[in-house]
Symmetry: C2
Amino acid sequence: MNKLNRLNFSGGPGALPESVLQQAQEAIIEVPGMGLSVLGISHRSDWFAAVISELEANIRTLLGLPNDYHVLLLQGGATQQFSMLPMTLLRGKAHPADYLHTGYWSGKSLPEARREGPVHLAWSGEAGGFRRLPSDDELSFSAQAPYLHYVSNETVEGLQFHRVLGRDDVPRICDMSSDFLSRPCAAERFSFIYAHAQKNIGPAGVTVILIRDELLKEAPTDLPGFLDYRMQIEAHSNYNTPPVFAIYVVLLVTRWLLNEIGGVVQMGAINRSKAELLYHLLDDSDGFYRGRAEAQDRSLMNVAFNLDSPERESQFLAEAQAAGFSGLAGHRAIGGLRASIYNALTLSAVEELAGFMDDFRRRQAAC
Amino acid sequence: MNKLNRLNFSGGPGALPESVLQQAQEAIIEVPGMGLSVLGISHRSDWFAAVISELEANIRTLLGLPNDYHVLLLQGGATQQFSMLPMTLLRGKAHPADYLHTGYWSGKSLPEARREGPVHLAWSGEAGGFRRLPSDDELSFSAQAPYLHYVSNETVEGLQFHRVLGRDDVPRICDMSSDFLSRPCAAERFSFIYAHAQKNIGPAGVTVILIRDELLKEAPTDLPGFLDYRMQIEAHSNYNTPPVFAIYVVLLVTRWLLNEIGGVVQMGAINRSKAELLYHLLDDSDGFYRGRAEAQDRSLMNVAFNLDSPERESQFLAEAQAAGFSGLAGHRAIGGLRASIYNALTLSAVEELAGFMDDFRRRQAAC
């Protein structure tokens, strides 16, 4: 990205690494060695089978994923998973699944789950305005639940779990859409992980799903084909024409994570440095910048904060935009401000933002 | 596309116009004037709202679409529509919907429809090996049917309807995935048209849907949100993060159709010339090239043919590949040979193929 381009601090779709963008750009005209555009190459070609295969292997390597997991690439975003999951695991069940309501996105999963079967709300942060996550003392999970579902990182409110929840005898299911491959995630402790690509690992249009094989052993056989995980697994994510380009870009991102970053441990360390820089700036601002989340539950991906008035927030946004910082408005559901600092946003980009924020505060204090 | 690149005669994903590929390539680094990559720009931005709006307007202009139609852009391909449609219009109905089984793709729609409600098979070409389509004399449609469903162009077998089927008092629903915007289609006579992008109008990952408003007046209200056409309409195709890049490319293709080609009438004339060139070559080959479909039902999009033996077909494919013609193998379901000549394949590209085919025949005759 050249210097004229804005730095993308948007809640998503997020920025992608420069080297990935360059390779994606080349592939629009010709996939290296293939003589065809990536937009026109067959999803039944040997080339694409190798893309799927390498991408799956890269994800296994990055997460140390055991062999009894399937890796799927589907369309429809996390939203489709909000329904596909309970269609598969909750319909006709007597015992409710445990769900956590920790913010905007987990809230979206609830009505779709309730449409399919019984749901037990194991904890809700709604009364507290979603400014914190539950402690272990506040949680008790049922041993009879078909599964536990939660969202690891609430993009809108800037909340993130820094531990694994749940019981080892009940399948853990986690929406990791906004922190997948941003740090180690103990994937082997989950039965099902899903993540749309457009935060940390690619463009909008593809969702990565990891499923432990035994989770599907009692899955219904009467679902529409495209909503049937087993049919998608059998077809190696090629049940019907997949989004070839988006999948190719996700492959490029996994190569970047492996070869340029070094893995998810290294990525996590970089992401922690970026987040600490901004949270320290908030904490050291004498209350000028007010962090939204309680300190122990702060997200390393989405730094949500406020100023003392909506007017000052508007001024901040206008000046930030003019200075080349894009996407700093909070989610339309809650307003305020938010710096989303996904994998591809570099520490130096975050330092630039921190410099702007420091400067903005000093100028406001001088008024 | 430079001269080193292969010509893409694949059944899909198909080729895209050179000018579209160039603009798509530029947008990977920066959307003109926006300072952000198209892969990272927000789907809630004014820019993307304008993309959706212009794309919708372009489709309305290209097809002369009346105002009581909605234009939707969804994920999941035609396959998702095979289920969404009967979920919406067939569940709990007493009278069966009329379905035609004219080839591979209409065959895929049948089990998904039957899963949701009663289906009447109004005609099947299966016994005849899908080498022709029904004449009007062979068809009678029920006035009580919730709808009639058929596929306008069977990609695999190379069959295409050159007229509109059905009754004016029963909603017509048509899968136009492989001939949408390739010629005028009398859209105003259909209640519902769907077409995935990856043949004539864009990359894989997005599906265009035209719905007459009244078709949804009794649609159920208890479907999962992402499968509910009304929720998608209300959200202007932005119910959850849409495939921004794929949609942008479809916009570029509609601009190309309007500004460089001149519209669907002109596109249809070009496509007819391309198809006639190849069909004349088959017909004038003294039986060397054997057209698969009966003459009156031949597709202008997919020219399916055979040689006298699988061995000769393999030789044809190998020599064609070496000469720079890609994707000429028939669909894996039926084998043989197939030249798919979607919108972006130029007449001169088809002339090149015809030259190769002529030459191949002469060389074989000389053996």
